[in-house]
Symmetry: C2
Subunit: 685 residues, 2 copies
């Protein structure tokens, strides 16, 4: 290849931008950028294909910084290659409302593919991006029309490797034989607690070989650019295995404290920076310097990327002629639009239809829309038969060689790997051609909390099919019965939690989940059968909350979700019969969507003047925003047949009625009972 | 060894009990018990040391069923060996309020060491139990007084191995060279989704070798009892490595559906049971049969265990004479009592003391009590310098060979492995001689949600030192700033969340956390400095909520926690000055403890007649139970210097005052404003 002085200057430019930015913000992590600058230079300038002027070009190579604390490396690269990220943006590193936050955020910064920082997420996102590439290629590429052949590159550190999520994702990536995934492990022997030998002495190479990866080693990761060049070539040449390159580096290379955790999470001292700049041949009096020849070098590569995209656009144009249907499908997907009229496939129910578990109703929705919405890519964390996430004709996403499917398959066998599934879904969605959904028990969405949070933060549309949503799962018992989970997920900003009560509400949940481009959804679905309710429609349910059953001179409003709505219906009858009490019934399948309705509408559902009681078999936390009193389960459940468990905790028409009467009684002395929707001031949302 | 017919009969007895119980309850998992009965027989009858009459004997071998869905295996063994678990208990399998719930629960069933079922937890608990054994041995054993030399045995399945938490825990176990840990992997090739080849094709043996484990293989796991005998002997002989035995088994061995996932999670059919009983030489007309000779065989082993304990008690008695101090310490620990007067070591502050971050206040508490409470065993998930969890003279818990500490060390370097840390703490606490605490950022407690939930469910005292508890962490940004986490953890039953506002409250948090034997705690601690408050005392704070600042003719109550309390103090001054408003201030460091106070006390803190406003820089969810209005952050935070972030979201005296005025205004027309503590009926807790 012939690396020379200019390469070294470019590398040192990256290093010093990271040093200057962390010094200026007096915060951040210079060590990893300084150590990984050489490999970043080789990768970005010699291998990566991208057009900084169009960061969304489909066939760009994806870059993921899984050790996201080293984000000044990524910001420096994005700036130097000409993305919309100025030197002033770098100077504003880690300041409020800058485009350069403390960890990379995909929705903030052009060129950042996924939001990273929480360790292990990025590498798992990268697996998702690689699956998405393989699937998109298998779906759209045609002879002579290789529309999609990009690679996914991922940098990661010791922390990522220690996190269990990376084990889950890496094991799956090996199984799936993702040759398009190339990772670089920054093997610098340093973590926050000091030397890795205090906690992390496993044989990483052997572990990745066990997963079925190609493992390459680079001993002189600070200097041996030729070895890096060769390693990436070798990685790209291996088509049936993901590759991990173990790159021995010196954290904070060049600093007086290099090789210690002193350079991990704190800016360098003034003197140290001075000697460093001198050593690198830079003026120690200047900061944020980009030598002209470095700009030119990287500008040249950027132009090549722009030219490559132009070529690709031509290819796409001729693809449009030869494969108009596929072309239309692809371009529609890239715009983030759903197929016109897709929603007509959503099933509609009447009260005459039989009682069905909402997990089964979800299966029906999926079966109906799966052909209409080809970008749906499903899966389950080894609970397919329980989650009912697989449609009959599904082909598995598998390497051809194992005979169980192929890459055009739209159903992923995630294995018992909830956390990786969540992060992989984030990667799938970030690729741009896929809407992912994944199944597990609601209780085990908690295993994936780290990834779910990042779906919300990075505004990703992915759908959790979270079945067995309560004590209603019965015999498996408290270890599997969520009680705190909905409160947790409802407290998460920009996340929709749906708990549909019947078929129409299940269709509504999917409708809103699918059409919300920037918000993930969790669908909490029952194991047990639920009747089709009188008064439910898709149109009403998509408002998040609505009056299922209105009465004149109402004494109380019963507000409920999911499997408890039908018990409230019976409770209303019981109340009339035994207590001459008039109960309205409100079904509230989704708080977050209800919150976005007009106040007028919301007050028509939960009006002033009538005390209200919520009924849900889990933590009452969060219900106080909507109702005056709450009937729930602020304890763990019990193992037993589901009806026995419901009886034990009095979630019966009698049990609800008793509390409804108490509610009426308690509020009867308060004149003009005010709806809890009335608030003194607006929340910060 | 000479295994014979009686052994086979014992094995088949176990199998059939599992078959009968799942058939009777029409629910449960017969496959794993049938496949693992042979190895269970060899282990329990030939290796395990225990006394069924005293399931809490310290030096018993620990048994953990990580594939907890196979719990009928464990229940059958417990019954057969004479634990307090009757045949009627087995017949009540999976029914409400039985001692035989759908997954093993430690607080329900004598002989169950830890609560398992959520996959991957058990094996990680086992690592904790093994660490606890090694530490207890290093602390209390003396020449000629081997008080503690038990092993920890763990059965696990494919699901456990796929879960990331098992990777984390296993990597650490290898690093720590835990020769006292012996795992048996039920390698049956079957998961819920079918054959493991659809998602799990990694080389498990190689992976565990990479972790530094001894790996043993048994090809004929259904029949080759001699190989099992030999493998356990070999495992016990290896003192410096944990062992995993890869045992090839046939799931549902003997069933017409053996070897398929049809026997994983559903009872066998009647006909199948009939042929099975005939094949095993049992009467097909009878159920729940225990042949007399099997009872006698197992009874003999149980008697040997009882005798072993008797011997041990003699050893302990003579230990008491020779090492009275150590003996007193050990027996005190086993009773679950803290050293008398330990709480005098808790630091007390006055307003004259300087402002200090509560993470630093926590460090001070730990430094003061660490010598007084020798059962405290700390650690951090690679954030020691940030969590401030390590005291100055700490010795690390490390294998002697690496020169970084020894097994008597009381500080664990967990690595970046939050989920494993949580589960390991559960195991440490379950051993009986240790109170564990572990540090990470509050945001990353979510990575461990699965384990935290099981601490709560199984009533385990462990303490999370969860620092960097809000947007107050500043520059790291929204990826690291919790907003939903406290709502999540507060919604979890039997879990205490503390967010202390100053030094006295930090001491109070530790006091209650340490003295609550059956409840875990999460201490949410600030990165930024907090002043010592006028009006705070340990005595007040241990009530969970108290009046920090009372005023006459109060117009409003400001209720807050942690770092926002001192801003409320300033807001109260601002309100008086600018608006002539009288604001009371309530500090509420722990909801759950406050909830346990008398209603009279609670109403004295949050009285009728005064509108209240909560102030906390995170999700407002949950605050509606205590206050009329809520000022919080129902969105993600921002990256920037912490004061800038607080200003951005108006968590300033001005911002609070504005909302306090709005609150007063909004509630002024309501006569006799009722405290939200008044409710129509009691919650189910």
């Amino acid at each position: 290849m012939g690396f020379g002085e200019l390469d070294q200057k470019a590398i040192n430019t990256i290093r010093l931008l990271a040093v200057d930015a962390t010094f200026t913000s007096n915060s951040g992590h210079p060590g990893a950028p300084m150590g990984m600058a050489p490999v970043a230079h080789v990768l970005w300038n010699n291998f990566m294909k991208f057009n900084p002027k169009n960061p969304k070009w489909l066939n760009r190579d994806r870059f993921v910084l899984s050790n996201g604390h080293g984000c000044m490396l990524q910001y420096a690269l994005l700036h130097l290659f000409g993305y919309d990220l100025s030197l002033d943006d770098l100077k504003a590193f880690r300041s409020v409302d800058s485009k350069t936050p403390g960890h990379p955020e995909a929705h903030d910064t052009p060129g950042v593919e996924v939001t990273t920082g929480p360790l292990g997420q990025g590498v798992s996102n990268a697996v998702g991006l690689a699956i998405a590439q393989a699937h998109t290629a298998a779906t759209f590429n045609k002879p002579d029309f290789t529309l999609v052949d990009n690679y996914t590159y991922c940098f990661l550190g010791d922390g990522c490797l220690m996190e269990g999520i990376s084990s889950e994702a890496s094991s799956l990536a090996g199984h799936l034989q993702l040759g398009n995934l190339i990772c670089v492990y920054d093997d610098n022997n340093i973590t926050i607690d000091g030397d890795t030998n205090c906690a992390f002495t496993e044989d990483v190479s052997k572990r990745y070989e066990a997963y079925g990866w190609q493992v390459l080693d680079i001993e002189k990761g600070d200097t041996d650019l030729d070895a890096m060049q060769k390693a990436f070539e070798q990685a790209k040449a291996e088509k049936n295995k993901p590759t991990i390159i173990n790159l021995k580096t010196t954290i904070g290379y060049g600093s007086l404290q290099q090789g210690t955790h002193g350079v991990h999470g704190s800016p360098l001292k003034k003197d140290d920076i001075k000697q460093l700049k001198e050593k690198f041949g830079f003026n120690p009096e200047e900061s944020f310097v980009v030598p002209k020849e470095v700009s030119e070098l990287y500008g040249k590569h950027a132009s090549e990327g722009a030219a490559a995209e132009e070529e690709w656009n031509k290819l796409l144009a001729s693809y449009a002629e030869k494969f108009p249907k596929e072309h239309a499908d692809l371009t529609r997907r890239l715009k983030g639009e759903l197929p016109e009229g897709w929603e007509k496939a959503l099933p509609v129910y009447t009260p005459a239809d039989p009682a069905v578990a909402s997990r089964k109703l979800s299966e029906t929705v999926l079966s109906k829309i799966i052909d209409v919405v080809p970008e749906l890519l499903g899966g389950s964390a080894d609970l397919t038969g329980s989650n009912l996430t697989r449609w009959k004709q599904a082909v598995d996403f598998q390497p051809k060689s194992n005979g169980l499917g192929d890459y055009s398959g739209r159903y992923i066998r995630y294995g018992v790997r909830e956390h990786a599934m969540g992060a992989i879904m984030n990667g799938l969605a970030a690729y741009g051609t896929i809407i992912p959904y994944g199944g597990t028990f609601l209780n085990f969405v908690s295993y994936a909390a780290g990834a779910v949070r990042l779906s919300s933060l990075s505004q990703i549309r992915c759908i959790w099919v979270a079945t067995h949503d309560s004590i209603g799962l019965g015999e498996d018992g408290p270890t599997h019965q969520p009680v705190e989970t909905l409160a947790h997920l409802r407290a998460l900003p920009n996340n929709m939690v749906w708990r549909p009560a019947d078929g129409n509400e299940t269709s509504a949940a999917y409708y809103v989940a699918m059409t919300s481009k920037h918000t993930p959804s969790v669908l909490a679905l029952s194991r047990q059968n639920l009747p089709q309710l009188e008064g439910s429609t898709i149109e009403k349910a998509i408002k998040g909350g609505y009056v299922l059953h209105e009465v004149e001179k109402a004494d109380v409003t019963l507000v409920s979700t999911g499997s408890e709505v039908c018990i409230c219906v019976d409770a209303a009858k019981y109340l009339k019969e035994k207590h001459n009490v008039n109960a309205r019934i409100v079904s509230m399948p989704c708080f977050e969507v209800f919150d976005t309705q007009s106040k007028e509408y919301r007050l028509s559902v939960l009006p002033d003047g009538i005390p209200s009681l919520s009924v849900e078999v889990m933590s009452t936390m969060g219900w106080e925003r909507y109702t005056h009193e709450q009937f729930g389960l602020n304890r763990f459940g019990a193992s037993g047949a589901y009806k026995d468990v419901y009886n034990k905790f009095e979630f019966t028409p009698e049990g609800i009625s008793k509390r409804a009467v108490a509610t009426i009684d308690f509020w009867k002395d308060v004149p003009n009972v005010r709806s809890p929707l009335n608030r003194a001031f607006q929340q910060i949302i």
